[in-house]
Amino acid sequence: MSRCADWSWLEFDKRVLTISQILHQDIVRFAEVKFFFIKVFGGVPNGFAIVSLYSPPNEHLLRLSHNTLIVCGYQGEQDLIVIPIESIISVVAMIPFRSITGSCYMVEKIGLDVVDTDHRDDNDEE
């Protein structure tokens, strides 16, 4: 799904990074949120999260399962990074994968928000 996150405030930052460091863009990754926080720049509050990145998916299992079995390793405190909240696309499930200890497989929400599961609607509208 495509959304337009407002990157304008990061533009300058990116240019600095391209010179000095390797840049990976538009790679989908999965992460566990440790906590969120807010920093104010120029009077505007910006949201961030400290997350623990899961390792990239196991290529072998991906191929074998027609891209449906996405198994990633949990890295805990090993790979903590800060991300802007605009990079968060959705909430996913990371379910312990029994065949490889210490790893999880990713499940995304099926279907859409407008049709169902928005239980707020059923219970406390009116």
């Binding site: 566990e32 720049f41 509050p45 299992l61 990079s87 996913v92 499930a93 099926i110 928000d113 509208e125």
Partner: protein
């Protein structure tokens, strides 16, 4: 507004004690006032006591039910009064769509929301003219080919209203005869965020049970006749946004129902016929020798070379027919012009049509049979899941006569099945709350009211994970193709490339299903149920109608759930249901005219709106968080190149616990979820991230 009559009366009494001069309206008076203010009318028509037919249309003059002979009127009353007093035994309720639609135009802001379809249509027209190709991304019914063509051809103008009709039966009490049929109108003119909300659904009618109607058409007749008149003459509206009068011509885009009701509405033979596809695509199935049930198998089973009706050679899956309005028209004419019963029987078999559809009488509708879409809930989820489990568990329903042949796929038996059930239920506890219903242990619960959402999360969510190393390799890989295809067609935003990919995967799955499971064995022909064939249509239907979840029965399920939660009188659920549906119609209309009556949405206390649909939610640290070394390093890394770095006090971080994101999910954090420290709690702290600038590799 959901409170009971008694609550209302008590509130009135309390208010009166405080303010003695207050003269509140009685409950009855409030109801009357609501009806007057909203302008919503309710029609009651007589019906057969056993729910066979409604006394409408050609049945309007009858005094007994043509199906069961049950008298229309209460015989005691009739006898007592010497045939003077004609009290119907039972009535059903219709809520005409016209006044409900008029209410939506009166107030300026609500009227504005009715223009979404027109704005989107104009936008799509510009896009298609510029690129000379269909839209690249399908994110609404409006981007589907069917609507875009109808908008030009019908034509569908600015003030016109596009509706979808959804019909379904519902059972409100477990283990109790309480089946009831409901139909609703969905307004396609509204934007996606609004279209499927209870507040914007128009109740169409309530048909009481406990038997299911034999002739559903006679119950839809009053509501449809009303719409058909509005389609011819136009519905006068007052456009509160532009402050002008206008005429709105309704266009009925789609009719949604489950397979059984659909066969009745389309006038087709149903799923076991030679041409039993619910889309009336005309694909011919095969029957077992001496069997009257046809199965939509592509491959000719061994020994069928001389079969009387099913000897046709293998069918190339890439040449499957599509529903064709012209073919339908000529087939229907054939069937109607049959001279006798034998001829009708023969033509019915070969066309798959047994009678004209009631929707033939609707002047503004997509060409029949293209107004009857495939369904994303029953066939690909419930029915297909049942089939796969029948096979994997080697259930007796699925077993073939030839018991000697091996079933390499039948792995979910005995202890493995027991273990698998536990694994599924355990995995479900890791699903975030926004994922809908958690699948229960299938080994225990699958045969007792396992819900569609449970099947969806079980097979198409957890499936590849919980079946890995359980299903044998070729069967696992085959199953994954289905999962991939279904996951794509369930998306609410699908690109052209994805539709093509899903199409390829789903066609492969269907063909390989016959190769891997049926193996041309005539005794296994019954594996090829209609739900297998229905998979072949999903991608093409997406191209035609946009994401199919937008025209699925999920909305109806929710309306049924909502009405069910309002029921207050278990002793007389049917009458109560009609009353609740009427109240929904009244309240919906009044909220449109006076939006201040509706519930106002406020952001929760202590939250912070960060724009673009992101909302930071508590709990929040009250004092500065002591960052760990790893956290401090991450902060240093991220902000080191930041131009304003000097101004940031990196050491003062106040933690927040939750974040609402634009897709209406709420992400939580390890910080707060660990504190709750319950193993049963669902985990909402994992997120998918994109566009990261990863400084470290």
């Amino acid at each position: 507004m959901d409170a009971s009559q008694r609550t209302y009366e008590e509130v009135c009494r309390n208010a009166q004690e405080l303010v003695p001069d207050l003269k509140p309206l009685s409950f009855y008076q409030v109801q009357r006032r609501a009806q007057d203010l909203s302008g919503i009318v309710t029609w009651e028509h007589h019906m057969c006591f056993k729910s066979c037919i409604g006394f409408t249309g050609p049945f309007a003059v009858l005094e007994t039910c043509p199906e069961c002979g049950e008298p229309r009127y209460d015989q005691q009353e009739l006898d007592k009064s010497d045939g003077e007093r004609k009290v119907p035994q039972k009535v059903f309720t219709t809520f005409p769509a016209g006044p409900q639609l008029q209410a939506r135009w009166k107030y300026s802001q609500t009227a504005k929301s009715m223009f979404y379809r027109w704005e989107k249509t104009e936008e799509l027209r510009r896009e298609c003219e510029e690129s000379g190709a269909p839209p690249k991304v399908y994110n609404d019914i409006l981007s589907g080919q069917a609507y875009r063509e109808a908008a030009d051809d019908a034509p569908i103008n600015e003030y016109d209203t596009v509706l979808m009709l959804s019909v379904d039966g519902a059972q409100f009490y477990k283990n109790k005869q309480s089946e009831c049929w409901i139909y609703i109108w969905i307004i396609v003119d509204l934007s996606l965020e609004n279209r499927y909300k209870i507040r914007n659904i128009l109740p169409g009618g309530v048909i009481p049970g406990p038997n299911s109607p034999k002739n559903i058409k006679s119950f839809l007749f009053p509501g449809l006749a009303h719409v058909s008149v509005l389609q011819r003459e136009g519905l006068p509206i007052w456009d509160g946004f532009n402050q002008r009068r206008a005429l709105s011509f309704i266009f009925l885009l789609l009719v949604l129902a489950d397979a059984v009701a659909m066969a009745e509405l389309t006038g087709s033979v149903g799923h076991h016929g030679l041409k039993g596809c619910r889309l009336l695509c005309g694909f011919a199935g095969r029957n077992k020798p001496k069997g009257s049930h046809y199965y939509p198998a592509l491959l000719r089973p061994h020994g069928f070379e001389t079969h009387r009706t099913s000897s046709h050679p293998d069918v190339d899956i890439n040449t499957l027919p599509d529903p064709d309005p012209q073919q339908y028209r000529s087939d229907l004419n054939d069937v109607i012009s049959s001279r006798n019963k034998t001829e009708h029987g023969r033509r019915r078999l070969h066309t798959g049509i047994c009678k004209p559809s009631i929707f033939d009488g609707i002047p503004r509708i997509l060409d029949l049979p293209t107004c009857f879409p495939g369904d994303l809930m029953h066939q690909p989820v419930i029915n297909l899941a049942a089939l796969l489990l029948d096979l994997w568990c080697a259930r007796p329903d699925a077993c073939d006569a030839d018991r000697k042949s091996p079933w390499p796929w039948a792995v979910l038996t005995g202890d493995v099945w027991l273990e698998h059930g536990k694994v599924v239920a355990e995995a479900a506890s890791h699903l975030p709350t926004s994922f809908g219903r958690q699948p229960r242990n299938p080994q225990e619960k699958v045969s007792s009211g396992y819900k569609a959402w449970e099947f969806l999360n079980y097979l198409y969510g957890e499936g590849p994970g919980v079946l890995y190393d359980v299903l044998p390799a070729p069967y696992y890989s085959h199953f994954c193709k289905l999962v991939r295809g279904i996951r794509i067609v369930y998306q609410h935003c699908i690109s052209n490339d994805q539709i093509l990919m899903a199409h390829e995967l789903l066609l492969q799955w269907c063909l390989e299903f016959e190769i891997l499971y049926v193996q041309r064995n005539p005794d296994r022909l019954h594996f090829v149920r209609q739900c297998v064939h229905s998979i072949t249509h999903l991608a093409k239907e997406t191209y035609r109608l946009g994401p199919l979840s937008l025209s699925s029965q999920w909305t109806m399920e929710r309306v049924i759930g909502y009405l069910g939660s309002l029921l207050r009188q278990p002793s007389n659920p049917f009458q109560n249901l009609a009353a609740q549906a009427r109240r929904v119609a009244h309240v919906n209309a009044m909220v449109c005219m006076w939006p201040e009556l509706g519930r106002q949405e406020h952001n929760p206390l202590g939250s912070m709106d960060l724009g673009n649909g992101y909302l930071m939610l508590g709990p929040k640290d009250t004092s500065v968080h002591q960052t760990s070394l790893a956290e401090q390093t991450a902060l240093d890394d991220f902000f080191s190149d930041y131009p304003d770095a000097v101004k940031i006090d990196l050491h003062s971080v106040y933690r927040w616990g939750r974040l609402r994101i634009p897709v209406e999910q709420t992400a939580r954090s390890r910080w707060k979820e660990m504190e709750r420290c319950s193993n049963m709690a669902r985990t909402d702290r994992n997120v998918k991230v994109c566009g990261l600038v990863l400084a470290r590799v």
